[in-house]
């Protein structure tokens, strides 16, 4: 299944996902955020593949990544929200 979401964090996150209802098959993370080094975005997307569509699991992966790269514009809970909304597991905040 495919899905996408636009999530307003400090910057705007635009996320597209492929999933099977339980696991994240792939994710593409776009937006006007900053990440140093920039090339590491591929590593983040790769490390999220196969992760359970559950908030603690997603946040743990993003938090681990954030210790290796500097991210400005979103945090682990916000990216987890964007992914879960894209996968239809959470509702977009009103």
């Amino acid at each position: 299944m495919n899905g996408s979401s636009v999530f307003k964090s400090q910057k705007l996150l635009k996320v597209s996902v492929q999933h099977d209802g339980e696991l994240l098959r792939s994710v593409s993370i776009h937006g006007d955020f900053f990440l140093y080094p920039e090339d590491a975005i591929g590593e983040l997307e790769k490390s999220l593949r196969g992760i359970a569509l559950e908030r603690p699991a997603l946040e743990a992966v993003v938090a681990a990544f954030s210790s290796k790269a500097q991210v400005f514009g979103f945090n682990a809970p916000d990216l987890a929200s964007a992914i879960l909304i894209a996968a239809g597991k959470e509702q977009k905040p009103a």
Binding site: V6, S28, H30, G31, D32, F34, Y36, E38, F72
Partner: protein, 235 residues
């Protein structure tokens, strides 16, 4: 500290020069430039098709380029653009933005624009944004580039950029008109003010710089990358 004025160039060559300066950086260089034709640049992490109305850009003769830096989509028209490359910078990203922007703010104050830094990467005056800035760090070199809006054409900007919902377009345009402002000075006056501000902030005078043959060749080669579909449609 060197000062490089490269005049007006197309988007790919502008980005090519910035990357060439980064690759060859020995000492700090401030570059001042403009865009001809006008252009839309998107941030490194943005989706091209998500952000830019490519047909509209083509119709209006506007270049489209992906930057090497993050941040949002920018319509480059009546503005002064700067880039600053240096090997000496604060490891703290917020502090380095603030330090580089301090020179700009000092200079603009001299011409009556009493702006301030709005973290992470904006400059504002009277609560309205007049400058967006973005930086990258590669190979021990920091590149920060940014715009100083002289005037703003929000309607044209929204012709060129995609909006999340056509229904909301009117409100979005009216919001942006309230939040963004041009400083109302000329390109040359603003350029001189930025030079003066950097000199005051760093306590030293600039020496003029011309691009070497090697840097020109590098800039042309990098420009080909920026022109390529592979780079433009990377995300």
């Amino acid at each position: 500290m060197k000062l490089l004025k490269t005049g007006f160039s197309d988007a790919s060559f502008n980005m090519g020069i910035d990357e060439a300066l980064m690759k060859t950086c020995q000492e700090p260089v401030l570059r001042l430039y403009g865009w001809k034709p006008s252009a839309v640049s998107i941030g490194y992490f943005q989706g091209l098709e998500e952000e830019v109305d490519l047909e509209a850009c083509k119709r209006h003769g506007v270049d489209v380029v992906r930057r090497v830096t993050g941040g949002g989509a920018v319509y480059h028209a009546d503005e002064l653009t700067y880039s600053f490359v240096t090997r000496e910078f604060d490891e703290n990203i917020l502090a380095s933005y603030k330090d580089i922007c301090a020179g700009i703010l000092l200079g603009l104050k001299r011409i009556g624009v009493d702006g301030s830094f709005a973290p992470l990467n904006d400059l504002i005056v009277d609560g309205k944004k007049f400058s967006g800035n973005a930086q990258t760090r590669r190979g021990g070199v920091l590149l920060q580039h940014g715009t100083i809006l002289l005037s703003v054409d929000v309607d044209r900007m929204f012709d060129l950029l995609k909006v999340p919902s056509e229904k909301m377009k009117g409100k979005l345009i009216s919001d942006i008109k309230q939040r963004v402002i041009g400083i109302g000075k000329s390109f040359d006056q603003t350029a001189q003010a930025v030079v003066d501000g950097f000199e005051e902030h760093h306590g030293m005078n600039f020496e003029p710089l011309e691009l070497s043959d090697e840097q020109m060749q590098m800039a042309r080669t990098f420009a080909e990358k920026y022109r390529s579909d592979e780079w433009l449609r990377m995300r």
